[in-house]
Amino acid sequence: MNSLWLIIFSIVVFLIAYVTYGSWLAKKWGIDITRKTPAHTMEDGVDYVPAKAPVLLGHHFSSIAGAGPIVGPIAASMFGWLPVMLWIVIGSIFFGGVHDMGSLFASVRHGGRSIGEVIGHTMGSKGKKLFALFAWLTLILVVAAFTNIVAAAFVSTPEAATSSILFIILAIIFGIGVYRRGVSLAVGTVIGVLLLGVAVWVGVLFPISLSINTWMILLLGYIFVASVTPVWILLQPRDYLNSFLLYAMLVGGVIGLFVMRPEIQLPAYTSFKVGTNYLFPILFITIACGAISGFHSLVGSGTTSKQLDTEADIKLIGYGAMLIEGVLATLAIITAAYLSADKLVEVTAAGGALNVFADGIGTFMSSLGIPFLIGKNFVTLAISAFALTSLDTATRLARFIFQEFFISDIEGSTNNAFTSTLTNKYVSTLITVILGGALAFRGYAQVWPIFGSANQLLAALSLLAIALWLKRTGREYKMAIYPMIFMFAATLVALVLLIMANLSNPVLLVFAVALFILAIVLILESRAAFANTEKLES
């Protein structure tokens, strides 16, 4: 079967779901297109500014799209492409779409405030603290998982390592030039993009080969330094230049795919147990982004809800963006599906899911005349650059949560030496990096499932808050409860399996046990919260 059918299939199904289930959700939740959104009622020209629907959709989508929908599906393809496709499609429609749209809706009805406020409103401060804790743990796991992924990619594609280092230097020069010295953005961009191309080419000429552990240590050091420096030096220029890399890659990859039209060689279904992994729960934990991801609630209630022009756009942006990400995930699975099962194992062993993806896109682009090695290096550079920027961001955010948690949540504490040291910028960053690093060394196979679990639990918490809010404002809420229950089931089983597999590794064990306990706490909280029948205003 030709792989393009997968894309057509997912696009068609998503379109149908959008107009049926999406509209059904909007109706059941009482989305009111005449009601003024916070972008109008609280308009301030700064944060609360109404934006046109397509533009906001683009913005929101680019915020939620990431390396997750790429890595997850490819990693799960060990079970065959059919289970992956089904979960992407069903997950996006009934799980992630509901989660994203619900968070956006709840946030809009709470004056554009974050999902944490909704959680606090429906579950009290205990819920908020749980949320902060889950978010913090998930961020540490992002550090662990992505460090590992990038290091593996550098091992399989040493050319990308060189190019990445050049990119860092280029970003710093860009930052100093454009932001500090006033070089015009246009000039800086042109030079930057050209030099990026040069970096890709130089990387192919001078690959740097080191061991995976060495790369991980270097990366952790980089993350530490990058996340404590001011944003204009490294983070902002990287984020900006990344977007060119990414879109060039997407365009090149998609066109190449349509030109090459590869046949699917991977079996539709291999077996329920692959190695030590069971299809349930591993499939559902491995594919988080691309099916359902807890981070999306924070993004949606960040800027998106404050810029929503009318409630009529909630379906398009909340539900629609998730479906588009589902299409992205479908594209990712094709890079694995066109390989045979053995080849897939081989390429994965060489450098993980990222290697599979880069190999695939590189192959597709070669059908356009781009040399394979250049294409592959380019893709690896793009995704790892992206991941590195995410790592920087995740470390910063983890530091903020950590600082805020320790400053505000210790009952009756004044600033004693202990808390002052802990909340010091460098110490809190160090804690994040060390914890993330310790997990990263455990290896991708262990870290990604636990990252997926944490992300899903975050999503479950958001779903819980959404369901509670829906219930207590007199709306139908079961469509949020069932996905939540399934998430709990999958996560708890996965955590038990992880704990059993890691009894000898203290760091991972601690994380898995902590997550398990927190999940149980969450379940108990939800039971208590549902018993509360006090009505809330909508």
Partner: protein, 303 residues
């Protein structure tokens, strides 16, 4: 020779009298002297029988005087801000902010801050103009806080200026306007510099001294002990104590009869001046008033 002398001491020990007398003696030695009262009671006017106001006036040859009125200084400051606002902003906005400025006038720290500001101004501006500047301070604990302020405020202003500099840098990055000078930063840095100047003057032990006035009685001695201990923390030496109202060595009946006659006159003055009020008269005892003797006074309060 210290240039700046702060006169401190408990209420009633004769601080103002001493500081005034001291300033006169310096003036007579040919040293150009400025006597400044920071005591809201402004007794210097009473001592000299001259009207001393908010502007420096000549009291005698080589001696000028000034009374600081913190409320007046604060009002001056706020009005200047109001004037400034009118040149920068539209009148509509000025109206809205006026209430904020009015509220600021009655804020807790305003009095002390305005006082410190004026003292700093005098010290910095008049440092070279006069040979000696004497400050007659208020007999409250707050006075001693003044010595903590230069260090504290320089530090605070410094960190505010640093924050502002970060913002200005960020503004430049975002708006790409490179040449605009930032008035806020300029003001902050000017303030920081000024506090630094004061700090330097205070820290130079040859410039600033404190003279404590006390009587040969128990309570003033205790008070002086406490004050010196506190001041030693700020490295401001109290090297001279003025012991006031020491009885003459050859004290005799004559002395006391003269004093009693004067007292009778003043008692009469009181009864004339405050007609219609209740008077409770307490005699001076021949012992110190302490925990064992205070009961001897209580019987005079039979209301």
């Amino acid at each position: 020779m210290a240039k700046i002398i702060f006169y401190g001491g408990k209420g009633g020990v004769g601080k103002t009298t001493c500081s005034t007398a001291n300033s006169i003696s310096y003036a007579e030695q040919g040293l150009k002297t400025l006597l400044v009262s920071t005591d809201p009671a402004h007794s210097i006017s009473d001592v000299l029988g001259m009207k001393i106001g908010k502007k420096i006036i000549k009291l005698r040859e080589n001696l000028d005087g000034l009374e600081i009125d913190p409320e007046y200084e604060a009002e001056l400051y706020v009005n200047k801000i109001r004037e400034n606002m009118k040149t920068i902003l539209s009148n509509v906005i000025v109206e809205e902010i006026n209430s904020q400025l009015d509220a600021a006038m009655v804020s807790p720290g305003t009095h002390e801050s305005a006082l410190f500001d004026k003292i700093s101004d005098i010290i910095i501006d008049k440092f070279d103009e006069y040979d000696i500047i004497i400050f007659d301070t208020a007999p409250t604990g707050h006075t001693l806080r003044i010595f903590t302020l230069p260090n504290l405020l320089e530090g605070w202003m410094g960190s505010l200026a640093k924050k502002r500099r970060t913002i200005v840098d960020m503004n430049k990055m975002v708006t790409r306007e490179n040449d605009k000078k930032d008035p806020v930063l300029e003001i902050l840095e000017k303030r920081q510099k000024r506090f630094g100047e004061i700090k330097k003057i205070f820290n130079d032990n040859d410039n600033v001294r404190i003279r404590f006035v006390l009587n040969a009685e128990r309570l003033p001695i205790e008070e002086t002990k406490k004050a010196i201990k506190m001041l030693s923390q700020f490295n401001i030496p109290v090297d001279t104590l003025v012991i006031n109202r020491i009885m003459p060595d050859d004290i005799g009946l004559d002395f006391w009869e003269k004093k009693k006659a004067q007292e009778i006159e003043y008692l009469q003055d009181i009864e004339n001046e405050f007609k219609g009020k209740e008077f409770i008269k307490i005699p001076m005892l021949d012992v110190d008033i302490n925990k064992s003797t205070v009961d001897r006074l209580s019987k005079f309060f039979n209301d």
